[in-house]
């Protein structure tokens, strides 16, 4: 049993380092949660002039793993379920931010199945209906944005907007109108823009795995809320 001393010392050091880093990570998460406290649901609602209709006011959109349920992850007995809704009319048009993240886990004999439901969008409601459309950034930080609807691409008449966004709709007149309103969304280009107009509501759709990411997009929450409200007013009075 004549082992060199480092055979015992190094594993012990590695285990100690692992615990140290784990504790440090928790501390860092808590610090980030504090640093970005203005992205907690309650404070974000106040910033945007919205009311928290449902959900945990302490849930942090920027540091989601600060939430105990998300940090723990889904188990067979307990799913992760975060459901938040903020609503109001800060700039005249009704505006809402909804966030749903549900994860279920089912451990079988030879496989584990995860089911995930995710929906995060900020939407403004127009007073009158308008033709449906979809707008996506041509360049986004995480690859092409997947479209939800199959409309033909229309020129907006604004070359700067056409260079930045792909506007798809069946109404040329609507594309011209979007050419006037979309410049405000250029500020969100660093995150990526995905707008869907369903005829009554204009939604800015966010994702947790692709552009526009929730954290990157909500970093511009004020600009987004103002731009969506302006767009809804222009579209539907």
């Amino acid at each position: 049993m004549n082992y060199p001393f480092y055979v015992l010392i190094f594993p012990a050091l590695a285990v100690g380092y692992m615990f140290f880093m784990r504790s440090r990570q928790k501390q860092k998460t808590s610090e980030f949660d504090q640093q970005y406290s203005n992205y907690r649901a309650g404070e974000l609602a106040q910033r945007l002039g919205l009311q928290l209709i449902k959900g945990d006011p302490a849930f942090n959109f920027m540091v989601t793993h600060a939430n105990a349920a998300i940090a723990r992850g889904a188990t067979d007995k307990q799913a992760v379920h975060i459901d938040i809704e903020l609503s109001g009319a800060p700039f005249g048009a009704p505006l809402s931010l909804v966030y749903l993240n549900r994860q279920e886990r089912d451990t079988g004999f030879s496989s584990t199945t995860y089911k995930t439901w995710f929906d995060c969008r900020m939407f403004a409601t127009a007073k009158q209906s308008f033709p449906p459309f979809e707008v996506t950034s041509r360049r986004s930080p995480m690859g092409a944005i997947v479209k939800q609807q199959a409309f033909p691409e229309m020129p907006t008449g604004n070359p700067a907007v056409d260079a930045e966004f792909q506007v798809t709709t069946q109404e040329p007149g609507l594309a011209q109108l979007l050419g006037q309103v979309l410049p405000e969304f250029v500020a969100l280009s660093s995150a990526g823009v995905h707008l869907v107009g369903d005829g009554q509501r204009v939604s800015f759709i966010m994702s947790q795995t692709a552009a526009p990411l929730v954290a990157s997009a909500l970093y511009h929450a004020e600009v987004m809320s103002h731009a969506l409200s302006s767009l809804a007013r222009r579209l539907g009075g």
Binding site: Q46, L48, F91, A187, E222
Partner: protein, 236 residues
Amino acid sequence: MAVAEAQYLHQDPELCCQYCGRREKLPNDAAERHRYLRLRLLQVSQAREATEAPLRAFKTMNDAWMPSLFLVGAMGIYQSWSFFQNWEVLIKLAPEQALFGGVPLAVMFGMLSGWLGMRRAYAKKLRPLLRARPPQAPGLAARCRNCGGELPGVRAPQVICQHCNASNLLDDALTVNAAALLQQEAQAYQQQLLPWTRDANVYQAPLRAFYLFGALGAVAALFAVAGLLLLLVRAS
């Protein structure tokens, strides 16, 4: 009446009397214009933060450096000790095997030199960009590097602008080199206003191009003639 700033974008600012405290709403058009300006300031501020985002990674690395230095240093010292203990064995090995023994040392010194390089690049390239603008006259406040607004008078290495939230570094260069910094700022404004003053060398470009391309053409012609002569000599 002074404008009482609205805390959030959706709120309208109010006019507030500094003597009796009476508050009045701003007219709608003025409130809308005020909101538009706040929105623009917010966008500029967010664009600046996005541009400066890599600085956070630098700060994180800088903060984590001390514990990492102890860990890597301890490993490096042990490796050095082991390396020198076994040098007699190492020199008898094939070079590639002996070199393998030096890899951990290379990693440690690589991390150290990388950190020193990072510090140097920060000091040389970024520090001047993050420094506050000097006061326009002695006795006045230093100004924000981003919006040019007056900074609060504090004794700290870093101060946050109350207007645009940009962080500004305060160092002795602000007082020692105030005149030079002000002159640089004036030059930058002048270059923005008068683009033709940006680079005086650009006016010499045609003349330089004449000499450069003339020389290149002459050399190319010389080679071509020499080659032709060589061919003719060989052919005859």
